[in-house]
């Protein structure tokens, strides 16, 4: 899959992924007051407005839902599979899955290194 939408450097709105060996994790923040996990680097907690500190989430999680996009989307080649993935003790993130089938709700997934399009990716654990 290729992704051609131009994104100026430093403005990519997607979660930042750190790869360590076989593990890929999302580098976000966690609220030091309410514990709310956020997949992005935000200046304060969006849930309680409390202070946040850097935190990493993943690689393991559970599929909340999933689908396969079969229509043209600019810069992308259909079909492609997606899932909302609830990372263990972490936030819900949108991830691309390999292949062209939706996974059942509750499927255990594991983040993998981002694809060349820069998307979060996951596969069945």
């Amino acid at each position: 899959m290729s992704q051609t939408t131009a994104v100026p450097a430093g403005t990519d709105p997607r979660p930042r992924v750190v790869v360590r060996g076989d593990d890929a994790v999302v580098a976000g923040v966690r609220c030091t007051e309410c514990g709310h996990p956020v997949a992005f680097v935000r200046p304060r907690c969006p849930a309680c407005r409390g202070p946040v500190e850097p935190a990493e989430f993943g690689p393991a999680g559970t599929a909340w839902s999933s689908t396969v996009v079969r229509i043209p989307v600019p810069g992308r080649e259909p079909p492609y599979a997606l899932a909302y993935l609830d990372l263990d003790d972490g936030p819900r993130v949108l991830a691309h899955l390999p292949g062209d089938r939706a996974v059942p709700v509750g499927t255990r997934l594991r983040l993998t290194a981002p694809d060349e399009a820069g998307d979060l990716t996951a596969e069945e654990a």
Binding site: Q3, T5, V7, T11, D12, P13, R14, P15, P37, F40, P46, A47, W64, S65, S66, T67, V68, V69, R70, I71, P72, V73, P74, R76, Y80, L82, Y84, D86, L87, G90, P91, R92, L94, H96, R101, A102, P104, V105, G106, D119, L120
Partner: protein, 373 residues
């Protein structure tokens, strides 16, 4: 002061790339003003999403509507009803004596197919087209036993059948559940006939103080809200809690309960949207939305008719125009002017419009309006 809808109008809805937006707007504005028996308004509130900068003044000046306040409001698919809310508030507080709320959108010249996901948004850039967001809600419903694929398809069958009696609708037809499920897959499990089309259109309403006139339709209660965070803690599918929270405010403002409403025009951009919304509006309990469609309860002739116009699925969905087209349908229904799709004896109608596109929240905006006496 009490406010009423004095006139409504719409263009034809459909793929109309050869018709200038000015012509579409004129169809809606001319009809609404004539219906209200006036050619004078003190301000115009315009809802549009993909309209070019200045589109409101560009269109209205061509219709001779100049020299008054004109405000453009963007609230995703709820832009038209956001214009209704603001126009209503301006009349209610006495700021203006009579206002026009106008919704506009020409989609066919902007997009070949589905709306392009917004690349400044985290999930938009990641390729989450709106059909995919609703598809994940549908997958969740099917997998948790909250609805069946056949029940979702029934919503499309019903709304396309309703639209057979709506000459302004983009599509209509007598489909079977099998035909709906057998149409081309868009985003699993949603098929083509379960998704609203790309549409061009305009719709308008004239609001002024209520005078008790026979053709006026009182605005009984209104609410607008943006979504709270939607994340791993959220108990329901995307948008559900926002619709429920907005509806609770509107029911309270109107002093009614869901059972008092005779007909509903709701945001069925996708079949799962109508199923979840019938639950979120309290028409039926959670998990009963699919059964309500299957049993005929939400069809014209059933106990709780939903989308007698054909809904977004059939009438079409020119984003900014949709909310005011829903208002027009309810006004026609409450006057008894809805022809072959008339809900007998309708006295109270409800409009629900829901807009999304910003990831991480439960919706950009939801409007719920209760009309009638």
């Amino acid at each position: 002061m009490d406010v009423a809808v004095h006139g409504v109008g719409t263009s034809h809805f459909g793929r109309q790339p050869d018709r200038p937006l000015i012509d579409l707007a004129w169809d809606a504005v001319r009809e609404a003003l004539a219906d209200a028996g006036t050619d004078q308004v003190d301000a115009v509130y315009v809802g549009t999403v993909f309209g070019a900068p200045g589109v409101a003044q560009r269109v209205l000046s061509a219709l001779g509507i100049t020299g008054i306040p004109i405000l453009t409001l963007e609230n995703a698919c709820a832009s038209g009803t956001t214009a209704l809310v603001e126009g209503h508030e301006a009349v209610r507080t006495g700021r203006y004596g009579r206002v026009l709320a106008l919704g506009l959108e020409q989609m066919s010249t902007t997009f070949g197919g589905a709306i392009h996901p917004e690349s400044s948004d985290a999930e938009g850039l990641a390729g989450l087209a709106l059909p995919a967001l609703y598809a994940m809600a549908a997958h969740r419903y099917l997998q948790t036993g909250a609805a069946t694929a056949e029940q979702l398809a029934t919503v499309s069958v019903k709304n396309h059948a309703h639209a057979l009696h709506n000459p302004r609708a983009q599509y209509s037809g007598s489909y079977t559940v099998e035909q709906v499920l057998g149409s081309r897959m868009i985003a699993d499990p949603l098929t083509l006939l379960q998704c609203c089309p790309t549409s061009d259109g305009a719709a308008a309403a004239v609001l002024a103080p209520a005078t008790g006139g026979a053709r006026e339709i009182p605005v009984r209660g209104l609410a607008i809200r943006s979504g709270d965070l939607w994340d791993h803690r959220s108990p329901h599918v995307w948008g559900y809690d926002l619709v429920a929270a907005t509806a609770a405010l509107a029911y309270e403002a109107a002093g009614i309960a869901p059972g008092d409403v005779d007909l509903f025009e709701v945001h069925d951009a996708f079949t799962i949207g109508e199923v979840a919304t019938t639950e979120a509006l309290g028409i039926v309990g959670h998990g009963d939305g699919g059964k309500a469609a299957e049993s005929g309860r939400t069809a014209v002739g059933g106990a709780s008719p939903v989308n007698p116009s054909g809904g977004l699925l059939s009438r079409g969905h020119p984003l900014g125009a949709t909310g005011l087209a829903q208002v027009a349908e309810v006004v026609w229904q409450l006057r008894g002017d809805a022809g072959g799709r008339q809900v007998d004896g309708a006295r109270i109608g409800l409009v629900e419009t829901m807009g999304g596109g910003v990831s991480g929240i439960d919706g950009n905006a939801c409007v719920v309006a209760v009309l009638g006496a």
